[in-house]
Structures are given as C-alpha cells and as structure tokens.
C-alpha cells in the first residue's frame, strides 16, 4: 500500500505519523471519510464500505497524534465502534442511552469517558466508563464539550463523527482542522457528511493519495480576520 | 576496502574459502567499518526477537521480491534497499539466518545477481551462533545510509529460467528436494503444503541430492572430501560441467548452488528459482515420477 503526497510538495510517504503531527498541543480535528459525492455512509449504513486502502492507517496516525478520540453516541451504536488501541475514547450523548454499543465488558479505568448533561449522568448505561456530567440546559454546546475534554487533560482531540457532532463542532467554531478522506465511489445512500453545516472556507494544508484512489486532505478553516 | 577473509583451516580446502566466515571471526570483526552483517530468515519475526549486534534485516520475501510479478526487484530498488542499510558497493556483507541458512543463501544468491563482489555466509547461521555462545540484541540497527550504484541484474550466469532448463535437459540437473518430493509421492515438502504444484515428480534426468546432505547436524558445511563424495562420486558431477539446481521455490537450491559454486568450485552453476512450483504447474513440460532420474524425452 503506497501513500504519496500530492500537496504541498509531491513525494513518497513512508512514515504516515510524521505527516499528521499537530501544530500545537491544543488542536481539535474532525476525521471523516466520505464518498466523492459527499455521503458519509455506504450501502450498509456505516462507513465500513467506504473505508479502504490506507484509510485505517491514516486514521491510526491521526489517533496517535491525539490525546483522545471523540465520537457521538449514534456513531457508537451504529458503527459498532471499537475501542481505539492507543488513546482513550470520549462519547457525547444527550440522553445517556448507549444501548447497542460494542464496547466489551471489563473496561479498564480511563479508557472510555461519557460526556452528557448532568441531568442524565445517572442513567448512562456503559459499565466501566467514567461519566462526566456537564451543567447544560439543553444539548451540550461545542464549547462545553471541548472544555470538559481539556479539563480531563485531553488537549489534542480527534473527533471521528458522526455527522451531527461534527457539524455541531464546526458551527460552534471549535474545529482547527478537517481531515477528510475521500473514497473513490458514488451512489450510496445519500447521507450528507456534514448536514446543515455553516458556510465556511478552508485552506488546503496537505493532500495525500494512496494506490487504490483514496485521497486524504487536511483542511484548515479560514477564520475571518479579527481586528 | 574488503575485510580479510576467515583464514581458519576449516575452510581452507574449499574452492572459495573467502565466501565463508565462522563465528569466532565474526565476533572478532563485529563493528569493523566496511562490514555489514545481514540477517535473512524464513521467519519474518525472528530478527526482532534477537539478532547479532549491529546486523540489519533483509527479508527475501518482502524486500528482494517484486510485489507484483514473480521476479526480483530491479537495480534501482536494490540500490535503495541496500544503500539504506549502510551497504556500499565495496562493503563486505556477511549473511546469516535460520533454517540452516536457506534464506541467507538465497539472499546471497540475489546479491550475486547484482554483482556484489564481497558477500559471504556465516557458516551454520543462527543455530551455530547460538551454539557457540554468541549473543543477540533486540536493539534495532541504525545504519548510516550510503550510496549504492544502480546496477542492473545479470541473470545470465547464475539464474536459469524454465526455457533454459528445457534447453539444458541432458546436462547435469540436481534436484535438492526430499526423496518423497522427488519421486512424486508428495507435491510439497512435509511442512510446506501451501507451496504445492499441480503435478508431482521431478524434471527428467535430475539427480536427487537432498540439500541437507551438504551440512552437518549443526548446520555447518561438511568438509570438502564429503562434499566431493556426494556430488562428484554419487551424483556424477565432473569438472567443467554446466549444472542447474532446483527445489521448490529456489531457496534450498540456492544453498546447493553455494556449495557447488563456492565450496566445490564449479564455474557454471545456475539456480532454477522457478523450481517445482513453476515446473510442476507448467503446461506440457516433461515430468518423471519414481526414484530414478528418468530419461530426457527425445526431441
């Protein structure tokens, strides 16, 4: 499996980790895969049919440069999410109901954190997870999610979706980088990768491509200049 | 500049004693500038469990073979591979490995295809190093990359293709597999059924000299007298013969190629690396079963 860098300068990629370092310790990335026509899921309703080539290895590189992986509860349920090997997992839930997850029993302390409104903290059904209840009148704001993670000592964050959480963080201007893999397919069920996202511009900071046609882009949001 | 050969009497009788080193010699020369020690094993993880201090790893399967076609890497890839391991054109390379140096011999043969002048085997490989009290380290090697010239392989002298073997029939052919593989009782070596072929047997007129007869129990090569008895007396090889050796995928026959070329001094020995995995599945090539060599089919 060969990875090649296309931008900023062409060349082979031997050590993927070196191409995914974070510019500063506090850095929140969204890491997603979508089809060419912008769908975040394939025929089976998950991203499993989209992922291929070096995608898992790039994902690994992103995880290794992060202090925590952040996902939304529906990803945990729908994707049959497996524990990341190298970093802890943090799950955001509004209801506390994590039925349908695939996290194995016998969880060691510090591997899984659940972020939820304080009002539902008692009803979180993931044995072994550390539950962080956050004072909130409605669903957790992007700011409160990030603050909670920083409070736990997690400064470099890799958010792996789902689309709702990712869009939420973008709307709240919490995102420093969007890592988007593009799988060379179209025509699956239409499920926008970032539904209802605000209008944002990005600058391309890096583009890699592997030998089965998956491309890996690093996009940095262009923030309006503040005087 | 080449490093002095191992001049112990054990190797003196061989045609090219400078192609072998013993464990004492290696222990004395570890760390010499101009020397690079290479480990090539059948088990891809063995190096990581412990290797001779300073040794680099070259895996025949994953480093020397083209990933798409059944062939070796080209000159540019070889230069990049070995240069990156600190091997220059003039470097003395000593190769060792597990399984009686099968894969070390195969790697040495590939180095020879690229014309690397000074490449030697550690007699007895890993087993002998351990038996002689040699130590291993798990510290990864940190070679300084050097330039290695891009040299295109010359396959004509020591490599035989299937068509070469067809044209060669009638000249000496050595099958180094087990007697059961030779006779056709089995298509594969007892421990290697994944390397099977569609048909069993051997190439007509081949002499069966199992590779293992060339080594002692500790994996070191037998003395010259015993090798002569084996290859000249029993298998009938004569001075000046043009010989082709084969096995299943060429690793055991590389070992025999080494014996015939560097220990016995035959000057025209080729390794048919396609070996039985190719011949045994090729369409319309002659095959003989049973323990006799069999006759070359008339043209």
């Amino acid at each position: 499996m060969t990875l090649t860098r296309v931008y900023p300068a062409g060349g082979p990629v031997h050590d993927v980790d070196a191409f995914y370092t974070v510019p500063r310790p506090e850095w929140l990335r969204i890491s997603m895969i979508a089809s060419i026509d912008g769908s975040a899921i394939g025929a089976d309703g998950t991203s499993s049919t989209l992922t291929r080539g070096a995608d898992r290895t790039v994902l690994g590189a992103i995880r290794r440069s992060s202090d925590v992986v952040l996902i939304g509860a529906s990803s945990l349920r729908r994707e049959g999410y497996l524990l990341p090997r190298s970093v802890p997992l943090a799950v955001v839930t509004a209801s506390g109901d994590l039925t349908g997850h695939s996290i194995p029993a016998g969880l060691e302390a510090g591997r899984v954190f659940v972020l939820c409104p304080a009002s539902v903290a008692e009803s979180v059904n993931l044995p072994g997870a550390s539950v962080i209840g956050i004072d909130s009148s409605g669903p957790l704001s992007g700011r409160s999610i990030v603050d909670a993670l920083h409070h736990l000592g997690f400064r470099s964050v890799a958010c792996e979706g789902g689309p709702t959480l990712a869009t939420h963080l973008l709307a709240d201007a919490m995102v420093d980088e969007l890592c988007m893999s593009t799988s060379p397919v179209i025509g699956g069920p239409s499920a926008p990768a970032l539904p209802g996202a605000p209008q944002l511009s990005f600058a391309l900071s890096q583009l890699l491509v592997d030998d089965v046609g998956v491309s890996y882009a690093r996009w940095i949001p262009v923030r309006p200049a503040t005087d | 500049m080449a490093i002095a050969p191992d001049s112990s009497s054990r190797f003196a009788d061989y045609a090219h004693p400078e192609r072998l080193v013993g464990t004492e010699w290696l222990r004395a020369h570890l760390g010499d500038p101009g020397l690079v020690v290479v480990e090539s094993d059948e088990d891809v993880l063995l190096y990581e469990t412990g290797h001779i201090p300073g040794a680099v790893k070259i895996d025949w399967h994953t480093d020397l073979n083209d990933p798409v076609e059944r062939d070796y890497i080209d000159g540019a890839a070889f230069a990049k591979l070995v240069g990156g391991k600190g091997i220059g054109r003039d470097t003395t390379v000593v190769i060792y490995g597990d399984k009686n140096n099968w894969w070390a011999a195969y790697a040495l043969w590939v180095f020879s295809l690229f014309g690397h002048a000074d490449v030697r085997l550690l007699d007895g490989g890993r087993a002998k190093w351990e038996a002689d009290g040699g130590e291993y380290t798990t510290d990864p090697a940190t070679p300084n990359a050097v330039d290695y010239p891009v040299v295109e392989r010359d396959d004509s002298k020591i490599r035989a293709y299937k068509d070469d073997v067809l044209a060669h029939l009638g000249s000496p052919l050595i099958d180094v597999r087990s007697p059961e593989e030779f006779s056709g009782e089995r298509t594969t070596a007892p421990a290697y059924p994944e390397e099977g072929a569609l048909r069993a047997g051997h190439i007509p007129s081949a002499q069966n000299v199992p590779w293992g007869k060339a080594v002692a129990d500790d994996g070191t090569f037998r003395p010259l007298g015993e090798l002569n008895a084996l290859y000249r007396d029993q298998a009938g090889l004569k001075h000046g013969d043009d010989v082709v050796a084969y096995c299943r995928i060429g690793e055991r026959s590389s070992h025999t190629w080494f014996v015939l070329t560097h220990l016995l001094g035959f000057q025209n020995v080729r390794n048919y690396d396609g070996s039985w995995t190719e011949w045994g599945s090729a369409v319309r090539v002659p095959i003989v079963k049973g323990s006799e060599p069999g006759a070359v089919p008339s043209k």
């Binding site: - | 088990d43 063995l46 994953t62 421990a191």
Partner: protein, 144 residues
C-alpha cells in the same frame, strides 16, 4: 467489518491502524502472548493436531463446551515467532465465540488484517491453514 465478531474486528482494527513496520511488532506482541498449554494438553501432546500449513510445527486443540462456545489451545516453538503470532491471533480472536460465529468467520480473514505486505502472501497461508483446521475440528466435534 460489521459482521465479523468483535474480537476479530478489534484485532483487524489494531493492525490496520499501524504502519507496516509496526504491524510486525504487533504480531510479535501476539506471539509473546500465546499462553502456555493447559496441563490437560501439555501432558498429552498426542491429543494435539499438527497444522501442516504452517511452516513451523504448530499444534492445536479445539474444545466446544456445553454452552456451545469455542476455545482454542495452541503451541508452537519459540524459534517460530511468526507462527506463534498467527496461533495467538486465532486463539484470542476466537476465544469464547459461539460455534456459529466461528464457522461464520470468513476463510480469508487472515488476508484482511493488513499483514500480507509485511509478512508476504505465502507466509499468511499458515494462518489461513490454522483457521481452516479450527473450523474443521469444530465441525467434527459437532458431528460426534
């Protein structure tokens, strides 16, 4: 990925996330984790079945308990770390799965965990052979 039992899916994820050279190190970790045989087998080596697809001697024994769960025991020599690694992946990945789950594991699972490049397609066949023999032993025990 969704129809693979979670234990095997996790192993696959763990390998795929790593770069090539680190995958070999993970395989070595698996090799070092291969548990010793329980006494009921270490004292009776005749009970174990040799897996001839592997390049080094590997012996396996499969148990199907009353609750239809499968348990695999294997042993391979210390100088065969790759073979030990394969055996360890199979033993850990299948541990406690139901008979149905084990028989449903795709035969080509060993080719999908990102090791073919690092280990070579030829060597991977050793793990494929291991998996096939485990399934065969499970079927034999069901038929008995």
């Amino acid at each position: 990925m969704t129809d693979l039992p979670e234990s095997l899916a996790q192993i696959r994820e763990d390998f795929l996330e790593l770069e090539q050279r680190d995958r070999l190190l993970l395989l070595l970790e698996f090799a070092n984790e291969l548990p010793e045989l329980p006494e009921r087998y270490s004292a009776h080596p005749d009970l174990l079945e040799r897996v001839i697809e592997c390049q080094s001697p590997v012996f396996i024994f499969v148990e199907v308990w009353d609750d239809s769960t499968v348990h695999v025991f294997a042993t391979a020599p210390k100088e065969a770390p790759t073979t030990r690694g394969f055996a360890s992946i199979i033993a850990q990945g299948l541990e406690g799965l139901t008979v149905g789950q084990v028989l449903g594991v795709p035969d080509d699972f060993p080719n999908t965990i990102g090791l073919t490049e690092a280990v070579s397609p030829l060597r991977i066949r050793g793990m494929t052979g291991l998996l096939a023999r485990v399934k065969r032993q499970v079927r034999e025990k069901l038929a008995a």
